[in-house]
């Protein structure tokens, strides 16, 4: 029992701190809301420290084999925690300007992080589902928080209803699998699958589980909510939704498909290939037609999800680590991309349209350069991080004998390069619409610069991060 508690110590610390923040925030006046902000960031960083410091050398199970701590969970948990801390720093000014700088934003986000940590550490369908619900519930509420906005209300309703249906489907699939395997534990399910003759019921359950996971990842054809939610919610909340939860969704895919159902690899590979090809093409093609940068990033996320799926589809350990590498790179790129949107927005002005970025190079050459790195990285231009992410995933697909699949991936990313470069053209060659200077606090400027440079630096020296992902699987 004591070792069990030791393994969940970071989660317990996070929960206790959230409760303390929740109570302290009640007594704070609006002027001193900064205390909540500082406490939240300190909590996230301390939890990340605890996660790293508390990591066992081998894979350890706790709470009747329902909670797992392995190298992968340590890396992904600490990345999620730090990314959310960065989201807080990026969005502070945006929230203050919009009278949105409330304690609830911080407590709900932190609860969402707790859900993600549980998902990342789940070794059991029940832990996975509860973590997922904890995370999703906070996101539904956060999208709806801007109550006076019609598009936010519409986005929240769509997200909530579709999300509830997806959760129901996921749960139904889990119940069918439980009926066959007679266990909720992923490792035991995998054993039961290898001896079970009831393939029909297993594939029936698998279809529903994939549906639920594909919805959370945002893979085509379950992607409809993404553009609306990304566009409808305040940019600070979009930044949160677009980054850390994708890590949790990747882990959900990995844990269920690889750790729980590798006995059905042939079945899930054939389903996921369709989702992956459709995501890469539909995401990239529809993105071309967007004039709103948040919707553009939403469609670009859909295409990145196709690549994340590609690594898992290969069914090899190297493929899984390539997917993990891609997920981490995607989160870094997405964080920087939305960071720029938050930077360009100011009180009473949302920099949501691509033309709002025209001539950004004349206003701030440095941040235009950061945006350039981000867009090049998303497009997969060498030597950025996104290039290596794409290369490693494509390479594993070729190694697994799926050459046509890799060719499709390359074709899709060439289509994608068009709309990324179009934004670059707007940044550098169009005339600015106004001459309002960019205003941002020093911490945000520094962090955003570091975020952008990290994509270039990790692109030039990708081996350390790649090795980390290879060791994690």
């Amino acid at each position: 029992m004591l070792t069990d508690i030791n393994l969940v110590l970071p989660e317990i610390f996070l929960l206790v701190m959230i409760s303390i923040i929740l109570i302290i925030d009640l007594f704070l006046k609006d002027e001193s809301r900064g205390a909540t902000y500082v406490l939240s960031i300190v909590t996230l960083i301390t939890t990340a420290f605890l996660v790293i410091n508390n990591s066992p050398e081998t894979t350890q199970l706790a709470f009747h084999k329902s909670f797992v701590v392995d190298p992968m969970s340590v890396i992904l948990k600490s990345v999620s925690l730090l990314v959310v801390a960065a989201v807080f720093i990026y969005s502070r000014d945006y929230l203050v300007d919009r009278n949105f700088y409330k304690g609830e934003f911080f407590t709900l986000s932190l609860f969402g992080v707790l859900g993600m940590m549980l998902m990342i550490s789940s070794a059991n369908f029940l832990t996975l589902y509860l973590g997922l619900e904890l995370m999703s519930l906070t996101m539904y509420a956060m999208v709806a928080m801007q109550r006076d906005s019609d598009i936010a209300a519409e986005a929240a309703m769509k997200y909530f209803v579709l999300g509830a249906i997806a959760s129901g489907m996921l749960l139904y699939g889990m119940s069918i699998i439980f009926g066959v395997a007679n266990s909720l534990n992923l490792a035991e399910i995998n054993q039961a699958i290898s001896v079970s003759e009831n393939r029909l019921a297993l594939s029936f359950g698998l279809v529903f589980i994939i549906l639920g996971i594909a919805f959370k990842l945002g893979a085509v054809p379950f992607h409809m909510w993404m553009p609306d939610v990304y566009d409808g919610s305040p940019t600070a909340i979009t930044t949160y939704i677009a980054t850390a939860p994708k890590i949790a969704a990747f882990v959900m895919l990995y844990r269920v498909m690889v750790e729980g159902m590798s006995g059905m690899m042939v079945d899930w590979q054939s389903i996921l290939i369709i989702l992956s090809v459709a995501s890469m093409f539909i995401g990239n093609i529809i993105a071309i037609a967007q004039s709103n940068i948040k919707r553009l990033f939403a469609y670009s996320t859909i295409s990145h999800v196709g690549f994340i799926l590609m690594g898992v589809i290969t069914g090899t350990d190297n493929g899984y680590s390539a997917s993990m590498f891609y997920t981490i790179s995607y989160v870094l790129m997405s964080l920087a991309g939305f960071g720029i949107i938050l930077l360009m927005s100011r009180a009473g002005f949302e920099a949501n349209n691509i033309e709002d970025y025209s001539g950004m190079n004349q206003k701030s050459p440095w941040f235009a350069f950061i945006m350039l790195i981000t867009l090049f990285s998303m497009a997969g231009v060498p030597p950025m991080l996104g290039f290596w992410a794409k290369v490693s995933v494509l390479q594993e697909a070729v190694n697994a004998g799926l050459v046509w699949f890799a060719v499709a991936g390359v074709a899709a990313s060439i289509i994608g390069a068009y709309y990324y470069l179009r934004v670059v053209k707007v940044l550098y060659f169009d005339k600015p619409k106004d001459d309002t200077p960019i205003q941002a606090s020093m911490d945000m400027r520094l962090l955003l610069s570091a975020n952008g440079i990290s994509m270039l630096a990790l692109g030039i020296f990708p081996t350390s991060l790649l090795a980390l992902c290879v060791d994690a699987i």
Partner: protein, 199 residues
């Protein structure tokens, strides 16, 4: 005897469930839902899940549905707008439902879920305590999940308050300090009005 009870209550359950989705009046639909909960409870009792059967009646019928009915009665639901697009969407809905039904029939008729494959569970003796067993497993094997479920409820409270609580500038509320410190001169204002002449 058990079979009779099962068939009686399951037919009530199926009928009330069908009525619930077909009646036009939302209040009636809520009542049919209550009836289907009532019909489910005895079936659970037959499965020796006494605690769940009792909770279903107490929590769902007693609390959740009462609140639900209250909300349904308070809201002005326009059935015509709710049914708009029903015919247009019907073919898609029917196609999805039929596909689902067909695959479910295939799965459950495949023979792997037949009675021969699963032994009939043994009946527990009369002193078997379902509630104690549940409590035992909830606080040992499922301790983590139990705690997380509590956290989810906390999040639900925070989310609900965030979304509904709104401090309006012109809300009328009592300020006891001000009430105590009030002086008669602030309460009573003597206005001299000139007497008008009678016409």
């Amino acid at each position: 005897m058990e079979l009779i009870i099962f068939y009686v209550f399951s037919s009530i359950l199926v009928l009330s469930a069908i009525m619930m989705i077909t009646v036009k009046n939302p209040v009636m639909a809520a009542f049919y839902l209550v009836l289907s909960f009532f019909a489910t409870a005895p079936i659970w009792l037959l499965l020796e899940a006494e605690f769940l059967a009792v909770t279903l009646v107490l929590v769902y019928v007693g609390a959740v549905m009462v609140l639900f009915l209250f909300v349904v009665m308070m809201l002005d639901i326009n059935i015509a707008t709710l049914r708009k697009g029903f015919v247009k969407m019907l073919p898609i809905g029917v196609a999805a439902a039929l596909t689902m039904l067909m695959s479910m029939i295939m799965v459950f008729n495949s023979g792997y879920f037949s009675i021969e494959k699963y032994a009939v569970p043994e009946r527990h003796s009369a002193d078997y305590n379902n509630t104690a067993e549940l409590g035992q497993i909830l606080y040992t094997e499922y301790l983590l999940h139990f705690e997380v479920a509590a956290v989810i409820l906390l999040v639900a409270i925070i989310a609900a308050i965030t979304l509904t609580h709104r401090r309006r500038a012109n809300t009328k509320h009592q300020d006891i300090d001000k009430q105590v410190r009030v002086k008669s001169s602030e309460r009573l204002k003597i206005v001299e009005v000139k007497a008008e002449k009678r016409k």
